[in-house]
């Protein structure tokens, strides 16, 4: 399948995205997308996350990137803001009253925002902030020392 060009309509781009189901996630959630791959595939900058559901057509008459999340949706994030990642992190984005919340599946972290991108960006900041907290010393409970190992295996210092 060829990579869509910048002039490709939003709906054509949406069709290009393939849901990447895993048995565990499929049991709990409707849709799983690899966001970074999707953004890369569609020629968007790495920090631009497109969030589509294939069942809900993205608006074609808008110049803005459509953000559509109708149910808890799992994404893999491959990049943070200031750090590269060796392995992706699973996150869930879902509606939170009049806004959105992005939560890490593996750690008790969340980011909230008025839209998906803001929630995701806040979560990325949270992950970085936690990583920076954890590398300062080892005065943490066992649970947080596990998260430290988990993050150190996934984050590459710049």
């Amino acid at each position: 399948m060829s990579i869509p060009q910048a002039s490709t309509t939003i709906n054509e781009k949406a069709k290009f995205l393939e849901p990447a189901f895993s048995p565990f996630y499929k049991k709990n959630y409707d849709k799983v997308y690899d966001s970074a791959n999707a953004a890369d595939a569609c020629g968007f900058p790495a920090n631009c996350l497109m969030i589509y559901t294939l069942k809900e057509a993205a608006p074609t008459n808008s110049n803005q990137t459509p953000i559509v999340v109708s149910s808890p949706t799992i994404f893999k994030i491959h990049r943070l803001i200031n750090y590269e990642m060796n392995q992706p992190l699973d996150i869930v984005i879902e509606q939170d009253d009049d806004g959105f919340i992005a939560r890490s599946i593996d750690m008790p972290l969340y980011g909230s925002g008025d839209d998906c991108i803001e929630a995701l960006t806040t979560l990325k900041q949270e992950i970085e902030s936690l990583y920076e907290d954890l590398i300062t010393d080892d005065k943490f409970s066992k649970e947080w020392l596990k998260y430290k190992s988990f993050l150190m295996a996934r984050i590459s210092p710049c």
Partner: protein, 96 residues
């Protein structure tokens, strides 16, 4: 759940006064609760005096390892710092 009754400033103030959490300001306010000299719970509170959305409220409760009801009580006052330590120890022993 009493998220409509409190805003983010209320949560931050309660955590500071009752749990002695010191917050740092990055993107959001982050603070650690220390138990037995170890950083044990890390809470994130959105900046400003915002209303707290439902899932955000639940997430903050989870970060402190409290049920929603206990988190309500922490904010409303019946849950004292001493009771919090008891609940936290129970929760940690259940997790181990």
């Amino acid at each position: 759940m009493k998220n409509g009754k409190f805003n983010t400033y209320d949560v931050k103030t309660t955590c500071e006064k009752k749990l002695n959490i010191v917050f740092r300001s990055n993107g959001e306010f982050n603070g650690w609760y220390c138990l037995d000299g170890n950083k044990t719970c890390r809470i994130t509170i959105p900046k400003g005096r915002k209303n707290i959305r439902t899932e955000t409220y639940k997430s903050m409760a989870r970060q402190l390892k409290l049920s929603i009801q206990d988190f309500d009580e922490l904010l409303e006052c019946p849950l004292t710092p001493e009771k919090y330590v008891v609940k936290l120890r129970e929760r940690l022993s259940n997790e181990n």
